[in-house]
Structures are given as structure tokens and as C-alpha cells.
Subunit: 114 residues, 2 copies
């Protein structure tokens, strides 16, 4: 990840409501979550939320797709992974990450039986 992208991602996460939104999306997993559900979960007016979604999307941290009347937002885990990589490498001596580490959804995942 380049410095410009890292700055954009940092700025996107450096705001109370947006950090909450992103954390919620990380828990929601790759399928994402409709804007309305996020709005009611965080108790934010829809236009305010729309503004923050835009920042997150411009920073590359979320994707959006339409599903019927709803807009479904989802975290871009690989982007967050890249941000962590940038910070580790540029601000932390570069020794922080597990070589095989990948950002993944936080919530319980479907168990894959061996």
C-alpha cells in the first residue's frame, strides 16, 4: 500500500462514527450489511451515515452493492490488511505481522468440518 492510500484509510477510520461503522462491517463479514440496519444499529440519521459511507468507500475500505431497495455495504478486508501492513512496515519496525496473516471477519464463521 502506498502512503497516499494509507493516509486516506487512516483519515477514514479516524472518526468516531466511521470507526463504529467499519467495526460493525467487520463483524458482519463479507456479505455486508444494509445501510438501514447500520443506521438503526448505530442510531445515525441516514444522510449523515451516507456521508460517512462515502468517505469509507473513497478510502477503499468498503464496497457497496444494491440489493432491492437496500444498499449493502461490506468491509474490504484486504484493504485493511494492507493498511496494517503499511503501518507495521513504516511506523513499527516491520516486525509486527505474522507472515501468513490476513484480515478476516470478526464474527462467528461457518465451521468447516475437516
Amino acid at each position: 500500500m502506498e502512503k497516499t492510500d494509507a493516509l486516506a484509510a487512516l483519515a477514514a477510520l479516524a472518526q468516531d462514527n466511521r470507526l463504529d461503522v467499519f467495526r460493525l462491517l467487520v463483524q458482519a463479514g463479507p456479505e455486508g450489511m444494509p445501510a438501514g440496519a447500520i443506521a438503526s444499529s448505530l442510531d445515525l440519521p441516514p444522510n449523515t451515515l451516507s456521508f460517512h459511507f462515502d468517505r469509507l468507500r473513497m478510502a477503499g475500505l468498503v464496497t457497496v452493492r444494491r440489493e432491492g431497495r437496500s444498499m449493502i455495504y461490506a468491509a474490504r478486508f484486504e484493504r485493511m490488511n494492507a493498511l496494517l501492513g503499511f503501518l507495521s512496515e513504516n511506523c513499527c519496525g516491520g516486525v509486527l505481522l505474522r507472515p501468513d496473516a490476513q484480515c478476516k471477519p470478526a464474527r462467528r464463521r461457518a465451521r468447516v468440518s475437516a
Copy 2:
């Protein structure tokens, strides 16, 4: 690290000049670097730099000590480490960090003639 502290640290790093300053301090290592050396290295006016130092200090990312006429700023590695931990845990599924990982100075040391 708590959410409030994480937000402060993110906001502190989410600015071009401040990110440069912090990266420089990470390379400089625990002994830190005088403000003047940073100013000339990044070509920033001293009052502008002072403003940014303040933000970094308020966010807990740097310390400062006086040494003669110079103010020596140094990165707080453990704080950066805590930020990475917060992001990993809250925004990344919690699987990113090596259990023994610690932020440390980057290899290169900035040799400074005060």
C-alpha cells in the same frame, strides 16, 4: 488500547506531514531526534512543525525532552504497538499479530548533528 485513544492516534497519523514526522522518528529510534533536524529533513517551518508535534504528543505517539537548546522528540513504540493491536482486534478479525510482536525502531538510525 481504548477506542478513544485509538481515534486520537489515528487522527494524529492521518495527516501527511505528521505521518512523515512519525516515520522519521521511528527510524531515529528511542533516542529520538531534535526538532530542528526534523524540520530541515522534512523542510517544514518550525512553527508548523511545533503544531504537529503537539498533535502527536497529545495522541501519545511521541515524547519530548529538552537537551540544551534542542527539543528531542522520540516515537513511543509501545503506543504504536497498542494501536496496531486495537486495529487488528477491532477491525481485522484479531488474527493479524504475532503473539510476541512488538513495535521497534526501524533498522536505519538517523545520525544527527545537533
